[in-house]
Symmetry: C2
Subunit: 412 residues, 2 copies
Amino acid sequence: MKAEIVSIGTELLLGEITDTNAAYLASELPTLGIDLYYISQVGDNMDRLYEVFHRGWSRSDILLCTGGLGPTEDDLTRETIAKLTGEKMAIVSEMEKELRAFFGRRNFPMPENNLKQAMLIPSAKALPNPVGTAPGWFVEKGGKILVAMPGPPRELRHMWENQVRPRLLQRAKAGILVRRTLKVTGISEGAIDELCGELLRSTNPTIGVYAKPDGIHVRLGAKASDEAAARALIYPAEVKLRERFGQYLWGADEETMPSVVGKMLQERRLTLATMESCTGGLLANTITDVPGSSAYYKGGLVTYSTDAKVANGVDPEVIQTHGVISAETAVEMAKAARKALKADIAIGITGVAGPAEQEGKAVGTVYIGIDHSRGSQTFAGKYPGTRLDIKNRAATNAIFQLRKTLLDLQGT
Amino acid sequence: MKAEIVSIGTELLLGEITDTNAAYLASELPTLGIDLYYISQVGDNMDRLYEVFHRGWSRSDILLCTGGLGPTEDDLTRETIAKLTGEKMAIVSEMEKELRAFFGRRNFPMPENNLKQAMLIPSAKALPNPVGTAPGWFVEKGGKILVAMPGPPRELRHMWENQVRPRLLQRAKAGILVRRTLKVTGISEGAIDELCGELLRSTNPTIGVYAKPDGIHVRLGAKASDEAAARALIYPAEVKLRERFGQYLWGADEETMPSVVGKMLQERRLTLATMESCTGGLLANTITDVPGSSAYYKGGLVTYSTDAKVANGVDPEVIQTHGVISAETAVEMAKAARKALKADIAIGITGVAGPAEQEGKAVGTVYIGIDHSRGSQTFAGKYPGTRLDIKNRAATNAIFQLRKTLLDLQGT
């Protein structure tokens, strides 16, 4: 089955919002065995909307639309579908009742405009929207499907998962796709290609290698008539790859580097502390984005001034001798954080995020220190980009180095 | 002039990346007086790419394309443009020299595939790309324009700003649009509508009111033959609105709440410190995203455990009596941070980011305390959403409350 996505709304064409709905739906379709050939964005204009719908309806089997289901005159999705199918819209009393109940629960009188949202054409079924006012439309006619869903991403995702995806799954004939992503780091894309070897030529599962900010992602995808059969195709390839990647493999699917490192700390009953300067709290924020991080993260110090570093236990002589931007100060910051927060392991970061250089050190110079009961390590980095890029890369690398240190400690 | 955007790449249709390029270009076009009617995404497939190019080339005056300019067989933008114009591609020796020099500077042998990137058709001019290997194409033929730009956002933006925008500005006939955004907070959208009054019906400048995460944005847009004339149209309306919004107005255009509050602190020669629990470093990170924040931000403490709070000067009796999640502890944290970091003003945040409730307090409960030389204030919040939503809203609100406190202090 061939699908096509149409995102509707003038705000998309003015660049006021980015169309994240299309990317979300696009990532879902392969799991249903549905091919996607076109995505388009069009404004709130009946002629242009009709042109896009008409073309999609003639060249594709499934048309997925988002937006244009609101109550105002600008919202033209329903009217355009009616024109496309040559059918007439009418108010459905059941839908009107639900809509009035929605406003009733909020103690709001329903504006009469909203009645548009209680209308259907004969070949459309209403898709309930418990998180908003606009129901979706699921139209089946002449062997083709057109689905109209609301534009707000929260409403769209809810309706897709609960109403649309299950319906399309029933109709999926070409089988479904299951995906599995293995995440590796510390090795080049070329070396990963070599390790994948003959598996790269496999057609089911397929294997793709992608460079990402957190390392290299190796994506396996298998097509089969159902999920269990697809998983059975992936399993032996995954086992081989895991063996070959060894220690370079750090996670799979939704796992992030901070969540994986958090799990390592928790399993070993180790606690963590941080003292950061140029990353200004981003490292702490990254660590605490992980649910349950309070089990191992004691806390952090953002010592943006030299005063604050010294007040929190950094030896002023180290700063005097080596400078604030130095490997020695980074490791001294880690030591001070470990002591002040009574943690088993600590990270210190100092560097120049910009816009101006500091102590004659160029923007992008970063030192990371890690201190633990058996010693300490330091790492130096030089990152390109803006202030925010440098903060991001420094915080990401600090977590990577922490994982490396934890692995080394395990090995000893 | 009517424009159309085509984003090229199979990864867009697999939902592996979100098309931010289209939104960026879409937001730029109105400033050139160019209307945008369609955006489409298409995969790396010659037939479908030709279909989209052909339609765009016949219905629009300007076709802006991104992606498909790499060196591999998948990259088909150049070939498709050659087919569309009926012209032949040939290697341009000047471009080949530059390309080889690019690889030379990186001590990399140039793969022969990359020679594709040194090709042009007669009606195309090469657009230099100093931040990547793929030059752009600027094609003019039969009164129409087709621009091909690279897909990586950094390369695209550089080429747009330095090469494409200036060329299109020369050809802009319908005049240009200048925009100005006024940012307000602490007042409802309805009340803002009333304050705008008769100005909402103005057609040049136009005025639009938009709800955003950091308050309400009032956007003015004026069309004129040049920038100075457009600014002259905006000016009197802006003066009126500034007067009417008064203290609710906090910034304009690119200003963010943290940058505005940073400016206030710097002007008054006040220093800031933070102690945060549930936001886990996000508040410090938000403050230090502002370039130059080291001038007023002394530093912060991320006290994720009660131990860490007490070790950093929070009175254990306050925690004992009122609980960790309380207004009293929030203000006590602010006091402790102000003292420990020798700052003039400090913020404390404590709350429940989830996933589980704490001390019988529901997920989303947040207390903010602000302490300064003339006293202290507390604020309570209850935020919906995920762990990350709650962290974001709490940090955003803390900066809002800091601004309010600074305004109140000025008034006394």
